[in-house]
Structures are given as C-alpha cells and as structure tokens.
C-alpha cells in the first residue's frame, strides 16, 4: 500500500534535487510530444539551446526577454509571501507602461536622468494604484483578490488598447497616412531611452539591473525587517497575527501596492529599455504577467531564484522568437513552459509530503480500538 504523509522537516537536498528533477521530467515530456508529432527531439532541443544561450547575441536577447519576466515574477512572489494571489501582474505591467510613457512624453525636455527617474516612479505608481483596487476590496470587504485581479487585467488591457487604437489623444500619432490604417503609438523622446551596458559582450539593460536591485530589496525586506516578519505571520496564520496586534489591513494594502509597483516598473522598463513606444499589441500578446506567476511558483517565492528562473524561461522564449519559422514548430515554447510548470507543481508534493510503501497493518480491529 502506498501512503502519503506530511513531512515534518524538509531536508535541504530536496530543494535542489526537486527543481532539477522536474526540469528533466519536463524535457522528457516535451521530447515525447516532439517525437509523437514527427520532430527529432534531440535536434530541436540543440537548436533551442543554441538560440537561447550560445549563438552570437543570444545571451543579450535572452536578458532582454528575461527582464519583464523578472519583474512580474517578483510581483507575484511579493504577494504570495502573504498568501495573497496577485494575478494582476499583467494589468499592472500595462498600467506601469502607460504612466511611464506619459511621464516620458510630458517631461521630454528635462535631462535624461530626471526623465528616467520619473518614468520608474510613474511606472511604479501606476502598477501600485491598480494593485490597490483589489487590495482595498480584500482588506475592507474581504472580496477574493484572485478573481478581481484577474478581471482587472482585462480592463487595464482594454484601457491600453483604447488609448492607442481608438482615441484621438496625443498618445496616438495620426500625422502620417499609414497611421489611420494601423495606428501606432507615439515614439518616446530620446531622453526617455534607458541606457544599457555591455558586459563581456552581453548587453545588460538598465531594467535588468533594476530587477536585480529590486530582488535584493525584497529579500532584505522579507528576511531582515519587522515588516517582513509580520507579513509572513499574517500569511501563515491571519488569526494569530490579529491576536498579536498586527495591523492586517494595512499590511495587505502595503504588500499589494509593493507587488503592483514591481510589475509597474517592469512596464516602465518595457517602454524605456525596449519598445520606445506604448505598444498594446506587443505587451498583451506576450503574457508576461501569467508567466510571472509561474516563475514565482517555480522559484518557491525566493526573489533571487525568481531572477534566475526568469533568465532561463526568458532564454526559452527568446529562442522561440528567433527560431520561429516553417521548420520550427510554433507553440512549442508554450508547451515546454507549461510542462515545466506542471512537473514543478507535481514535484511540490515530494517536498511537502513523503511517499511510503508499506504493507497495511492489522486494520479493522486496530481502528475499532482507537475509535
């Protein structure tokens, strides 16, 4: 008989073996999918790995793809610490992108450093503001934050679309004839273009560095401050926290705002680092927010692991873009990401529980005696 019982302690080696093992299982399952549909798995994987990390310029592109994922991953990880599910990373990213673009357009004549700082702040404010809506509803009306945040993603996406595709506001450049057919956002001024550095031939954008800095900050906050301690207590046992006199509502608002701000800075970095315009199609097709939740879960809510896993998944995503074409199956990257997630989720069981193979011992009478 197989018995599943809760582990009382989690051995350290498990935290390494389980993620590595689940990655291996995910690759095996992807190989099965590929083989079943008549593609050579080995060849396809080699091309993927090559395009993600080895080819000329591949690392730079992977860092680029990883940057928004790191931010949305941090966004989810911050909220998860308190057992809050902030599924609005997606919408908060949009809100951040909108406000950061506004800041850049309004302040374009100021010096670059000021404009960039304003963009970061505006992005953070946008994300935080949107995050506070479900935060307030949760804190004061105890409305489930999961579904409200999910729904607000779509509202934010539609606002973004409206600003670019439907309004006659100055967001939209209608001065050229093409604009009427396929209107695009206004280009951001040069002073709103974020700098980047080259390290051993790898292009590192400002946004990625901000992401690492943010991860360090979150780690400090959660492991070294009273605030972080209280957040964890509230997450583990809201009742105990209330008895201890912790201000639960305030913490919910603070954590939601912080988490939204992380995604919002991600949106600002999309404007400043990469797209240089407000790009609703590109932003909403990429699904950064949902990937962020997955990354946070894979990283087991450790901020540094979030950045690392964002880099790995970003590499995979980047390879998908690079290889997209007739001979490379489209949709494969999504399938692989999904499989990695599934196996990581399944492996969680092994971390929390242990499986025992044992023969059932004298059942009936023992139970009666116990009852």
């Amino acid at each position: 008989m197989i018995r599943i019982e809760r582990r009382l302690r989690q051995p350290r080696w498990l935290t390494v073996v389980v993620p590595v093992g689940s990655l291996a299982i995910a690759f095996a399952a992807s190989a099965l999918v590929l083989a079943a549909t008549g593609h050579a798995p080995g060849h396809t994987f080699r091309r993927l790995f090559d395009a993600a990390f080895l080819a000329h310029g591949a690392l730079s592109s992977s860092v680029t793809s990883a940057t928004p994922l790191a931010f949305t991953g941090l966004c989810a990880a911050i909220a998860f610490r308190m057992q809050l599910f902030n599924i609005r990373g997606e919408g908060q990213l949009y809100a951040g992108a909108i406000l950061a673009a506004a800041a850049a357009l309004l302040l374009h004549s100021l010096p670059m450093a000021v404009v960039i700082a304003a963009m970061v702040l505006a992005g953070a404010a946008g994300g935080a503001a949107l995050a506070l809506i479900p935060g307030f509803l949760r804190a004061f009306l105890s409305t489930n934050e999961i579904i409200t945040s999910l729904m607000l993603n779509y509202v934010a996406a539609l606002v973004l679309n409206y600003l670019i595709f439907d309004s006659l506001s100055y967001w939209r450049d209608t001065s050229t004839p093409e604009a009427k057919v396929f209107p695009q956002g206004k280009m951001l001024p040069a002073s709103g273009t974020w700098p980047s550095w080259t390290l051993h031939g790898v292009l590192v954008p400002l946004g990625f560095l901000l992401g690492i800095a943010l991860a360090a900050l979150v780690w400090l906050l959660y492991s070294r401050t009273r605030f972080g301690f209280e957040v964890q207590v509230i997450g583990d046992s809201p009742r105990a926290a209330t008895y201890a006199g912790m201000r639960t509502r305030r913490k919910i608002l603070a954590v939601m705002a912080l988490s939204g701000a992380a995604a919002g800075i991600g949106g600002a970095s999309q404007d400043g680092d990469f797209r240089h315009l407000l790009d609703p199609r590109g932003l909403s097709q990429s699904g950064y927010g949902y990937a962020g939740i997955v990354i946070a879960a894979l990283a087991r809510y450790n901020p540094f692991a979030v950045v690392l896993i964002a880099f790995l998944l970003g590499g995979l995503q980047n390879a998908g873009y690079t290889l997209q074409g007739a001979d490379f199956p489209s949709g494969l990257v999504g399938v692989m990401q999904g499989l990695i997630l599934f196996s990581a989720l399944g492996a969680e069981l092994l971390v929390r529980y242990r499986i025992r193979f044992a023969r059932p011992r004298g059942r009936g009478p023992a139970l009666e005696a116990a009852g």
Binding site: L141, T148, L150, L158, V294, G331, V333, F342, E348
Partner: protein, 319 residues
C-alpha cells in the same frame, strides 16, 4: 423589423453567448465540486483546434462528421482537464497556479497553436459548419425569427445542457452529492461519497464542455482555425460563473448579456455609430468585479456565494 438594431443585437448576443454558455456550464460543474480551473481558455482552444481538425480530416456526410467533431472537441478539452485534475486532486497542487499553467501549456502560444501548425489547419475554411436549421418561413418571422429560429443546433443543444445541468444539480443524487463535495468534502467523505472520484469526474466534464465551447467558435461562429481564436472567451466564462452565482439558469442569462456586449460595438459600427469597442468589452469584467464585491458580505456569501471548499485540496488525514 428584423433589421432593427435591437433584433440584430439580440440575435448576435445568442450567437456570441453560446460558447460562453458551454464553457461556463463546464466551469460551474468543476467549481461546484471544489475545483477552480483557470485553464478554460486553453481547454477551449484545444477543443477548437481538434474539432476543426476532425471536420477537415474525416470523410462522411456533413452532420455525421460534425457530430463526431464535437465528440473529438469534448474529448480534447477533457484530456486537458485531466492534467489539471491529476495535479490538483491527486498531487494537491495549488489550483490557481495549475490552472494558469494549463492556459500557458494549451493556450494561444502553446499546444493549440502547435497542433494547428503541425496539422496544417490554418488558412482554409471549414469543410462542414453548423448553419441555422429551422425552415426559412420560421426564420422570417418578426423578432423570434432571427433571434430563436436563425440559430444553429449548437444553440438549441446548449439550452438542453442548461436544463440537464440544472436538473442534475437540484434533483439527482449524484448532483446533490456533488454539491456536498463542493461545500464540505469532509462531511461528504464521512457520508461515503468518493470525493476524489467526484472531483475528477466533474473537472473532466468541465473540460469537455469547454472543448465544446471552443468548437462552437471553430465550427459555427468563424468556421476556420487561427491561433488564439477564442480571444479571451475563456476568461469571460470564468467571470460568468461568478456573475451567475454558480447557477446554470443564470449562466444562460449572463452568457447572452455578455454576448450582447461582444456584439454591440460591431452592430453599432455597421450603422455608422462609432463607439469604442473597449468600453463594451470591459463591461463584463467590471460587472463581475462589482458582483464579487456585492456577494462578499458574509450573509450574501452564505446564500449566494461560491462553494465553500472552492480552491482547497482535500486530504483525508488532515481534515
């Protein structure tokens, strides 16, 4: 008269509401058993692509092929739901993360796109599609002609499904057992109900319904395959279940209500009235948030709210 704006909007509300209705009925069954499945969009897309594949590749008379295609779509949706059920029921994984993972795995940039690409389904119209079945004399009747008689079999079948699900939940033993599992799995277990089996069965049924909803897109509304065909209908279906307070009859009303929002901008545009479509498209989401706020007061939650164990794994040893 049948060209008046009200009739046109009503008729298209039924058309666009039908896939929402199927998917929402499925999600309702899963949620009533305590399993929240956020992978509806992914399951719909896989159902849509496999249903379309069946229509393109199976030879035979139109109606037989279409019936078979619906079966394939339901099976495809259910097999996606099986992954979710295994992870959340057997392995006790987090339902939210698993559902989102299912959307990433199966969704617009995942398996559905992979299959559509690998089976060469894009850029060709469907060989068979669902069309209105009523005689044209009935279709020409004022108001009810286009709204009721101008619809395909899928619409009428969805009404049967609403009745069947409502009857199942309120009047049959398995249906009552299902509600017990969703409200209090520990009590249901003590009664001798197999919680695991009920959760698996209804999550799979939810997937099958989502697959049918997807096939409604690829075989009736826009009879073709493009990546991301359902364009977010799965998320609206999740909203719809809440909007309908987990009741099948209200799902029907809500589906047509939300369907009208989807159809209204196009109808207005063809009459020369320009309204931002985003305004109408965002209404279902905004209204769902409002409904959620309304039902979150303690009293209302007890009478109207979600199944009490929604989202929680059931572990017998830890109850």
């Amino acid at each position: 008269m049948n060209n008046s704006i009200l009739v046109v909007v009503l008729a298209s509300a039924v058309v666009y509401g039908t896939p929402l209705l199927y998917a929402a009925l499925g999600e309702l069954l899963a949620e009533r058993s305590g399993v929240l499945n956020l992978g509806v969009e992914g399951m719909m897309l896989v159902g849509a692509v496999m249903g379309f594949w069946a229509v393109q590749r199976i030879d035979g008379s139109g109606s037989a092929v279409l019936a078979l295609a619906l079966g394939v779509a339901a099976l495809a949706g259910a097999s996606m739901a099986l992954i979710h059920a295994f992870l959340v029921v057997t392995l006790r994984a987090n339902q939210i993360v698993s559902g989102l993972a299912l959307t990433i795995f199966a969704g617009a940039a995942g398996l559905s796109s992979y299959l559509g690409n690998d089976l060469h389904l894009a850029d060709s119209p469907a060989k068979h599609a669902f069309h209105p079945v009523a005689p044209s004399s009935l279709q020409d009747l004022p108001v009810v002609g286009p709204v009721i008689f101008g619809q395909s079999v899928l619409v009428y079948a969805s009404w049967v499904c609403v009745l069947a699900v409502a009857f199942y939940l309120a009047r049959t033993r398995p249906g009552l057992n299902l509600r017990a599992v969703g409200e209090s799995p520990a009590a249901a277990d003590a009664m001798g109900i197999n919680v695991t089996r009920y959760r698996y069965a209804h999550t799979l049924a939810g997937g099958a319904f989502a697959g049918l909803g997807g096939a409604t897109f690829s075989l009736a509304i826009t009879p073709q395959w493009v990546d991301g065909l359902t364009s977010g209908a799965g998320w609206i279906a999740i909203a719809l279940v809440i909007f309908a307070f987990w009741r099948p009859g209200l799902c029907l009303v809500g589906a047509y209500f939300f369907g009208a929002f989807a159809a209204l901008p196009f109808t207005l545009q063809s009459r020369g009235v320009t309204v931002a479509p985003e305004l109408f498209q965002s209404l279902p989401y905004v209204m769902t948030v409002l409904v959620l706020v309304l039902v979150s007061s303690a009293g209302a939650r007890r009478r109207l709210g979600a199944p009490a164990s929604l989202g929680l794994p059931y572990v017998r040893e830890e109850r």
